[in-house]
Symmetry: C2
Subunit: 250 residues, 2 copies
Amino acid sequence: MNYLLTVAFDGKNFCGWQFQPEKRTVQAVITEASNKLFKCKCAVTGCSRTDSGVHALGFRCTVKPENGDAVISADKLPLAYSSLLPEDISVLAAETVSDDFHPRYATITKEYEYRVLNSRIPDPFSVGRVFRYPAPIGEEGIERMRVAAEYICGTHDFTAFMASGSKITDAVRTVKFCRVERVGNVIYINVAADGFLYNMVRIIVGTLLDVGRGELAPERVGEIISSRNRRLAGSTAPACGLYLKNVIYE
Amino acid sequence: MNYLLTVAFDGKNFCGWQFQPEKRTVQAVITEASNKLFKCKCAVTGCSRTDSGVHALGFRCTVKPENGDAVISADKLPLAYSSLLPEDISVLAAETVSDDFHPRYATITKEYEYRVLNSRIPDPFSVGRVFRYPAPIGEEGIERMRVAAEYICGTHDFTAFMASGSKITDAVRTVKFCRVERVGNVIYINVAADGFLYNMVRIIVGTLLDVGRGELAPERVGEIISSRNRRLAGSTAPACGLYLKNVIYE
């Protein structure tokens, strides 16, 4: 049996998804709960690595119990996991998939959301869950960010938006949408693509914020992409504002 | 000088508003920050006591520096406090008021919000900030709660909705509104009154939830008020779902 889980987690107290010795990771916590639940060793495979502090609203992973007899009806899994997982992680949904389904390679589109609290005053209820950005960005700034976001959309070599030192050789990705919305004093930036380079969303956000506060002309974003020069793009926005929102399979 | 502050705090790690020896309270934390800010002892007076774990979106308190020379422009206070307060508390706004203004006695209306997560599955992002209530309450249940809420409105003796053991002799209060709204799987219950008895909102919520899941007929709420019998009302909903939302002065 191979189960595909949809998982939400508050990334604040996790060192990202992937197993690391002596570190609290999401993969380790889900594996431990799965082993207890299915009463056997389980192989847990994620749709992507996430960095320390990054959150998830709809992370996907598969759980494959080594003991083929260990069958639990998929619709019972969210509630069953809820009594085994700590409070900063939840299984929202579960379904069965074929044995050879791989939650990373089967991905067609991944969507991230980035949340910016545009305020000089901190908000006690969103600490560690937004990036607080004090420089005021008005309605005009949001419009500029939307113009800039249009340059991000489409198929480009995104080397300029990849953490320097990455070993990826093919940096061409297709961004399906890049939306900027403001609700109250929170700016939501949603980016969907067929794949992302390391830190790509966070560098896009850092660059769009430079555009928002008037530091960078929107048209410059097109030129930065063409330059393939990481140093021309904005700084990397912090992990705490980033949410893996959705993964779409065939 | 006498300043009136509007304060938001996440109550999770506070033992309520009021000073208590050896305990972390909101009053103690604001007093400490104020003493530093004004470089003198400050008298800090709150609009109400709040229980351990209760949150605030718009708590009010006055800050009166003992040294009359210690004058800071009120509009500078929110930012000035932000560098002195811990991350679970913020000053949202400040104004000057007359020396004899008392944030408790001058209150005309106080509004509380109670948040119920109506879900069998926990949400990692609202732990400690909602009361998770697994019994499903559908649209029909919400309608029943609204009918019941109408009985709460108006001027009544609310002895049945007061924590047993309270020493209050006059339990007559005027509830100005009691609204029930559902957004996704969160039920918001907003109650405004000229004053509240101890645990009154939390007992109202416990009772409305009994109505919502069909345990109690909406009309019974009128009879429970008339009975003045605490044992007939529902249980006290936990502190973690309660927010002091707004205080209205003349």
